[in-house]
């Protein structure tokens, strides 16, 4: 049974490359994956574009799955001996509590901000992970028995800058709101000014202010660039087959699989953990400034 399952999974994962071969021929370009086309009617809310595209679909899917993760692993707890499902749920909770929340947040703020950082961790992990599963949500179409179907493709919502910037903006706004609420406006902004000689303040204070804005950039670009580079590498290595010669097939599949495994095993989890941990650290440092 397990072997059959493994075979089915293998064939499923091999399908996208076949679709690429059928569709693109020699006109292969991995950057096309990031040209988002609008699905269905254009929904405009004033100047804001609310229409659905591939990234939005992935985000909606990610939201549903992360809600399900919470319900399945943590809400439904049977009495009696804990089974494997409960163990998984407790592991997730433990990572969120010990590795993320307690590392950055002061003890008095954990109750209030633990839900936020844990949600960030699970949501980003799920969205990243969905990005590495071939799903029929691509903009490209192919014909199967006369029916037009979307090709299987890998795409992560977090490999678009708008998504990660929105997440980072949330953390950034919460940081300052929480800092002002805990310490008052005067004391909070005073904590930005470090203990240095008077003459140095002219140079240091602008740097501190810029540093606050750099957090926004570094937090969003870190996640965005990691996911973008990962997908680009995998697509590029697979695409080498169609661009050069079929004889590079073993090499490119080997490296494609290698990068795929590296991304799925390490990068996905680390980026989710880092985003949540840094959010906790930023919020924690605003609540209890060092000075």
């Amino acid at each position: 049974m397990k072997r059959v399952l493994a075979l089915v999974v293998l064939v499923y994962f091999a399908l996208p490359s076949l679709a690429f071969a059928a569709e693109n021929g020699d006109e292969f370009d991995p950057a096309q994956e990031w040209e988002l086309q609008t699905w269905g009617p254009e929904l405009k809310l004033g100047p804001i574009d609310m229409s659905i595209n591939k990234a939005v679909a992935y985000l909606i899917l990610g939201t549903i799955v992360s809600i399900l993760v919470g319900i399945v692993f943590m809400r439904v707890v049977k009495s009696g001996d804990p089974d494997r499902r409960q163990a998984v749920g407790e592991t997730i909770y433990e990572v969120a509590q010990i590795q993320v929340a307690e590392q950055g947040l002061p003890t008095k703020a954990i109750g209030r901000w633990f839900p936020y950082v844990a949600t960030l961790m699970i949501f980003i992990w799920v969205v990243n992970m969905i990005g590495f599963i071939p799903l029929p949500l691509s903009d490209e179409r192919f014909e199967l028995f006369g029916v037009e179907l979307p090709t299987l493709a890998i795409f992560a919502a977090t490999s678009t800058l708008s998504v990660t910037l929105a997440l980072a903006l949330m953390t950034w706004v919460f940081t300052h709101v929480e800092g002002i609420r805990e310490n008052g406006v005067r004391k909070y902004f005073k904590s930005w000014i470090p203990d240095v000689p008077k003459g140095m303040l002219v140079f240091i204070v602008p740097l501190e202010v810029i540093g606050q804005f750099m957090r926004l950039i570094s937090l969003s670009v870190r996640l965005y660039a990691n996911m973008l580079a990962g997908h680009m590498l995998i697509l590029t290595f697979i695409g080498l087959i169609f661009l050069t010669h079929w004889a590079v097939f073993p090499v490119s599949v080997f490296f494609g699989t290698l990068f795929y495994a590296f991304e799925v095993v390490i990068v996905v989890s680390i980026q989710a953990y880092i985003f949540a941990a840094l959010s906790a650290i930023y919020i924690g440092s605003a609540i209890e400034p060092e000075h």
Binding site: D29, P30, A31, S218, N226, T236, Q271
Partner: protein
Amino acid sequence: MLSSFFFLAAADDGADAGKAIALALGIGLGALGAGVGIGNIFGSMIQAVARQPELRGELTGIQWLGFALTEAVVFYGLIGGLLAFVLI
């Protein structure tokens, strides 16, 4: 736009070839620094655990934090290079 960047850059236009070389060199040099940094982090981690094995659990979190912060430097370079490639 971005399409020429990946594979066909050198073929048609001298300026595009120069840009491709600059992009590759920039990312390579960025990766050099980050490689040294990541090596440092894991080296220090090995030393720390060798000296005090009981601290491993506490150190792992800090190690991955440092790893991700250092690794991201390459990607800032990559994004900067891509922006320069597309805009100029």
